[in-house]
């Protein structure tokens, strides 16, 4: 649905900052999250996990555990079938190892018992006979021909010579004559970079409550970004009809992409089926780190040529990502997004993906883009330094704009990159003085955004209030923005609308809350549903007035006669129309179902000042400003919140966060003490500047905003640190020991 023709419309509700509908529940402790539900007769489920990075499971003896008093069910891979779909089988294998444990923490068995203490005791009684196998956790090592093979039979087709069977995917994007492009350059820089795997780090561990009845009906309550996808995966794995499994999404305590799949839900369902009782599973933080999430780790080579006056003549990147023990296509997004911010005549990106003995990658906010753009923006910054050019001017000179053929194929429509760069340039932050050991860095960021399958229904109550039923878990205030768009379109106060997130049997399929899609796609469907309800209201009023339906129009919450020819009637409000709807044909509703496209890509620019302590290697973020195009900010507070939260996750990634594996292939830091996410005292305020360049694909111009903000911080901070130290950094995180090491090698 395209941008409304009246693009200059004056909004009344959209753009304001009303209180969110779930606010009181969340500040009083009443909101029900994944771990907060109970059921009569509920058992506690616990999972036994591999203590080895890679091992063949020769046998599992569960007899002693089963004999323990209070134990009601024990399951292993034998209790699951073999789904036909390879990607579903991968999900199932990740939930319960079949013949090999593929990483430290991989589930091998599970118990349901009458108490947590008994369940834990039972886990100790399960005897697993392992044959330990050689392992690999580093992406470059995993691609070498003599690397331990993580899973056989998963290599890409036409695997080139000299590469391990672990290599599962290869992607190439680009256009133009690379040789000619590099020949035109005055300066060419070629560098290699590495980034560590990081975890989404949601504060709420995964939790679910499953109940399977003997008649084949099931109920599942869980914290998820997508109850419909959970239902599909679980119904496939449990070999039951989707209609028989009702999945309810609890309030969700953060996801960032990490709650778009299942880890414990099929296990809880299997335990419930076997025991005949409801089963609850709540992960510990150790389990969350070892067996869910993280993002990919990467190794990247970038080569860029530039003229003396700052025009990029050619750009090349080779990206190698590992996404754990199962095939993972995330490198495709990296290869597509690496150079998206630039208008280039010659560009090529090559992506490789490899298996390692690590947990299965889960999406993390703009999956694949931050590490690719980190490498690219680092080289652009070094070129600016070498050629003595202003880094913002260089970005402006090469910026993609409407009509640019993007590095990954499509031609851009209206985009806000140049406006965002101009805003950064004009901002006082860019001109502020810097002290000793301080540096300023910047980076562009990009994300595709997504629309997808969406279903919304809107019901008018007899008292003139409006209920909206949608199917996307509210992860950061979306119920408020959906209500705002409904109120705007209907012309009624925000307080008259209540939006709820429905279970899988109460509304049609909605794609997962991902791809920054909810405010865009659910918003679009809500506006359409409202227009349908308005049409029906006008029809009813036309009947009452006994005139043609198209002689009635809707304005500011009232049905009005469209002109003198239509006759003279007092406008009728939504409230009046709803109140008599039983007499005019029954309840009034609107609904809309769509597979939305036109999401509109999103660009941002981040500006950061840091100070590096040369004695300790510690970096302090002094000042941070985020500039981003939101298309149209429906609820600006929550748009700013996305910009701030994403920036801070990126700050953690740049400076501290990493999965650390020992020689033994075991994760060494599976706790929030040793995997250190940013805390309040690490940070300054995060300033935000929202730009609004309307997305042509949405009636109000909305673009998704959730993912782009995690993209720029990696390079922005690396560029700032590199300038502060006068020493280029090539690896993330730039934790104090790494900075000290780099400093000691400085001559």
């Amino acid at each position: 649905m395209a941008l409304d023709e009246n693009g200059k419309r004056i909004f009344k509700v959209v753009g304001t900052r009303p209180p969110r509908p779930d606010g009181i529940d969340k500040v009083t402790g009443r909101a029900m999250y994944g771990a907060d539900a109970t059921a009569p007769g509920m058992l506690q489920g616990h999972i036994l996990r591999s203590p080895h990075a890679h091992a063949r499971i020769k046998s599992i003896d569960t007899s002693e555990a089963e004999a323990l008093s209070g134990v009601k069910a024990v399951v292993t891979a034998k209790d699951f079938g073999l789904p036909d779909d390879e990607s579903v089988l991968d999900v199932q294998d990740n939930c319960m190892a079949r013949d090999k444990a593929l990483y430290d923490g991989h589930p091998v068995a599970a118990v349901a018992a009458s108490s947590a203490a008994i369940a834990k005791k039972a886990l100790k009684l399960i005897k697993v006979d392992y044959e330990i196998l050689p392992h690999v956790t580093d992406v470059d090592e995993a691609m070498k021909p003599d690397a331990p093979i993580v899973q056989t039979g998963r290599a890409m087709e036409d695997l080139p010579d000299g590469l391990s069977e672990n290599v599962t995917y290869h992607f190439e994007f680009g256009h133009g004559d690379m040789d000619a492009g590099f020949a035109k350059a005055d300066k060419i820089i070629e560098r290699s970079f590495k980034t560590a795997a990081t975890h989404q780090g949601y504060i709420e561990p995964h939790a679910c409550l499953a109940s399977m009845n003997s008649d084949g009906k099931g109920e599942l309550w869980c914290c998820t970004q997508g109850q419909f996808y959970v239902r599909e995966l679980c119904a496939d794995i449990m070999q039951m009809d989707a209609s028989q499994l009702r999945v309810t999404a609890s309030e969700i305590g953060g996801g960032f992409g990490g709650k778009t799949t299942v880890f414990i839900e099929p296990v809880a369902l299997a335990l419930s089926r076997k025991s005949g009782r409801p089963v609850k599973i709540v992960m510990t933080r150790d389990e969350v780190f070892r067996a869910t999430g993280p993002t990919v780790s990467s190794s990247t080579d970038v080569k860029i040529g530039m003229t003396k006056d700052g025009r990029i003549t050619a750009a090349h990147a080779t990206l190698r990502y590992q996404g754990g023990a199962f095939p993972c296509g995330t490198v495709q997004f990296g290869a597509q997004s690496a150079f998206a911010a630039y208008d280039l005549e010659a560009v090529q990106t090559i992506g490789w993906s490899a298996l390692t003995n690590r947990p299965k990658e889960a999406a993390y906010r703009a999956p694949g883009a931050p590490m690719a753009i980190y490498a690219v923006e680092s080289v652009v910054d070094e070129l600016c330094q070498e050629l003595n050019l202003d880094p913002l001017d260089v970005r402006l000179k090469n910026a993609a704009q409407k009509g640019t053929k993007s590095s990954y194929g499509p031609t851009f429509d209206d985009i806000g990159l140049k406006a965002t760069l101009d805003a950064a340039k004009a901002h006082p932050h860019y001109a502020a003085p810097l002290g000793p050991n301080q540096g300023r860095g910047l980076s562009c960021g990009f994300w595709f955004n997504f629309g997808g399958n969406t279903c919304v229904s809107m019901n008018l109550n007899f008292d003139g209030t409006v209920g909206i039923t949608e199917g996307n878990p509210d992860i950061g205030g979306s119920r408020a923005s959906i209500s705002q768009m409904a109120a705007e379109e209907l012309g009624i106060p925000y307080e008259k609308v209540r939006t709820i997130v429905a279970d899988t049997n109460s509304i049609g399929h909605n794609d997962v809350t991902d791809g920054s899609r909810v405010t865009f796609a659910v918003g679009l469907a809500t506006i359409k549903a409202a227009r349908e309800a308005i049409k029906e209201m006008c029809t009813r009023v036309a009947k009452i007035w006994d005139i043609d339906a198209d002689a009635v129009y809707w304005e500011d919450g009232y049905a009005k006669p469209s002109g003198p020819n239509a006759g003279t009637f007092d406008p009728m409000s939504l409230e009046e129309i709803a109140a008599i709807s039983a007499q005019t044909g029954g309840p009034i509703a609107g609904h809309h179902e769509v597979n939305a496209d036109g999401a509109g890509v999103s660009f941002g620019v981040h500006l950061v000042d840091v100070e590096v302590d040369p004695e300790t290697g510690a970096t302090t973020v002094l000042r941070y400003t985020v500039f981003q195009d939101a298309g149209k900010a429906i609820h600006p507070d929550y748009v700013e919140g996305q910009m701030q939260g994403g920036a801070v996750q990126g700050i953690g990634w740049a400076l501290n966060e990493e999965y650390i594996y020992g020689e033994d292939g075991l994760l060494q830091n599976p706790s929030l003490l040793d995997y250190r996410i940013p805390v309040a005292s690490d940070l300054p305020n995060i300033d935000t500047v929202i730009l609004e360049i309307p997305n042509p694909g949405h009636p109000y111009g909305v673009r998704g905003v959730g993912e782009t903000p995690i993209v720029p911080p990696l390079a922005a901070i690396s560029n700032a640190v590199s300038r502060a130290l006068d020493l280029r950094m090539f690896e993330l995180p730039m934790s104090p020991p790494k900075i000290l090491k780099a400093l000691s090698s400085k001559v």
Partner: protein
């Protein structure tokens, strides 16, 4: 292990429960008393989602034993509002959009209330250091610090 009987006061109400000697106060609150407002983000004292006060002292309830509540005054998020009337911190968190997913919010509110009782007029840096034990992954803390400061100002009558 035999269960132990405990008499305590929670949010002003006399309360009795039995628990295992090794059971955390957080587990008692959540699993035995139905007070699920305190959250378990880690169980190891690293996230602050389980923050409550015991005899006025801010603690991670995952690191306190249930039996330690004997004869103590425990305050949880469920006791922060006065009936219908939200505490100023609660109101300012809603008004200032200081929560996104909200799972850190109960712990942060309890911790912030404890701060303002000790120091009604903290600097931003003092707020940031006081809340350093309360992890929030969604907000980047910016709006949390601002909401605490605007609630503090209101409570001072400023």
């Amino acid at each position: 292990m035999k269960n132990i009987h405990v008499s305590t006061t929670i949010n002003g109400d006399p309360t009795e429960f039995i628990c295992n000697p090794d059971e955390s106060l957080l587990d008692v609150l959540r699993n035995r008393l139905g007070l699920t407002g305190a959250k378990e983000g880690c169980g190891t004292g690293d996230c602050g989602a389980c923050s409550v006060t015991v005899n006025g002292r801010l603690v991670c309830s995952c690191l306190v034993l249930g039996v330690e509540a004997e004869a103590a005054e425990v305050e949880t998020i469920e006791g922060m509002a006065n009936g219908e009337k939200l505490h100023p911190l609660q109101q300012h968190f809603i008004d200032g959009a200081a929560l996104q997913c909200g799972v850190c919010t109960p712990g942060i509110l309890v911790a912030a209330k404890a701060l303002l009782e000790k120091n009604p007029n903290p600097t931003d840096t003092e707020v940031r250091y006081w809340l350093a034990g309360n992890l929030c992954r969604c907000t980047g803390y910016d709006k949390i610090i601002k909401a605490v400061q605007s609630a503090a100002a209101e409570m001072r009558g400023a």
